[in-house]
Amino acid sequence: MGSQQRDFAEFYRESCDDCLRTVVVSVGNRDTAQDLVDEAFARAFASWRTVSRHPAPAAWVVRTALNANISRWRRRRREVPVPDPGLLADPAAVVDPAAVEGAAAGLVEPRIMAALLRLPARQRQVVALRLFLDLDTGRTAEVLGIAPSTVKAHLARAVTALRDLIPTPHEEIPS
């Protein structure tokens, strides 16, 4: 195994789970997220000489995966009737309820996943990038192509909403 391949393999092992979690939260579908992340990592390996010089290669992978998801959505939109134009006005807002159950079943606490999926898509993305990739405001803004002040606003709103949506242990009614 060459040194580039070894470097990439190490990067993959260190970051594949967190990239997958970030994309699962963003797209709400575990299987779709796995496909997107696999494809993004393959592209990262194909361009490893340059991607490895990126200050946050995992952020590059996630951005590539999210871009690919938008492309998939655009292709799907041409192929099938759109059931909910309001929802589909934001490509990243497309959430497959069945897959959400799949993502939650035994892998993620259902109440947490349900709460995350009730957030607007952009808020979910901001939270996921902060949680799983530990990106600061500037890098998150770069990945999502939005202003740093918008990132801060989304994060603040998301945390406030999650606080309401996720009952903390002392708030739960004992059975």
Binding site: Q5, F8, A9, Y12, R13, C16, D17, C19, L20, R21, V24, R30, Q34, V37, D38, E39, F41, A42, R43, A44, F45, A46, S47, W48, R49, T50, V51, R53, H54, W60, R63, T64, N67, S71, A103, G106, L107, V108, E109, I112, M113, L116, V127, R130, L131, F132, E142, G145, V159, L162, R163, I166, T168
Partner: protein
């Protein structure tokens, strides 16, 4: 529970969610992606001669001298490469021979495309890759190989293989401050059929800077 505790709890709830794809599968797929993306390879079999020198004839339309000058005419033509601005605003670069990188770089810059051209096979180390938009490169430049005839009047046998590298550049797709890096070179291999020169080319988007693209 403060905000950090809340976010830590959310993060903790995902520890059971792990990627199921082995790295070997990613590597295999990555090689396929790379092979698909790699520019068509121009291979010239030389009869036991490594690095045959090609006679270069410079053709200058309208008496335009070579060198880093703005393209006052829509087309600048050299035997080594041709730069043509097309009606749809794209710029077509036809590379017949790896020669005069500074001239090509200057011409592209004059046409609004900051570029770093190296012909040694090595990238300019001063160039910083532009990775903010992974899909952008495909919108900016389309590389292909085309079969062409040598310039008329070229004496002797056709020194070209008949295939040349063609880049179609969309300047309007380039964000401000971003340029194109074009690093190409030959490597040699010896087989029973003789010595083969293989041209490999790498294209990347880079941040434009005086050290990288000269502007």
């Amino acid at each position: 529970m403060n905000d950090d505790d809340l976010l830590a709890m959310v993060r903790q709830s995902f520890t059971g969610l792990r990627s199921t794809t082995p790295v070997e599968k990613i590597l295999r797929h990555g090689r396929t992606v790379k092979a698909r993306r790699r520019l068509p390879v121009l291979t010239t079999a030389l009869a036991g001669v490594a690095g045959a020198a090609l006679a270069i004839t410079i053709v200058l339309p309208g008496g335009r001298p070579p060198g880093p000058q703005p393209t006052t005419s829509p087309t600048a033509e050299l035997a080594a490469w041709t730069v043509t601005r097309q009606p749809d605003g794209t710029i077509k670069v036809t590379v017949r021979e790896l020669r005069d990188p500074a001239g090509l770089q200057s011409l592209l810059r004059a046409d609004g495309v900051p570029a770093s051209i190296t012909l040694s096979g090595q990238e300019n180390p001063s160039c910083r890759p532009y990775l903010a938009d992974p899909g952008l490169q495909d919108k900016v430049v389309t590389p292909t190989m085309e079969s062409v005839r040598p310039p008329s009047g070229t004496p002797g046998p056709d020194p070209y293989s008949g295939l040349v590298l063609v880049l179609v550049i969309h300047p309007s797709a380039l964000p401000n401050g971003v340029g194109l890096q074009f690093a190409t070179g030959f490597s040699q291999s010896v087989t029973a059929g003789g010595v083969h020169n293989t041209q490999s080319t790498h294209l990347d988007l880079v941040y434009a800077s005086p050290q990288c693209t000269g502007s």
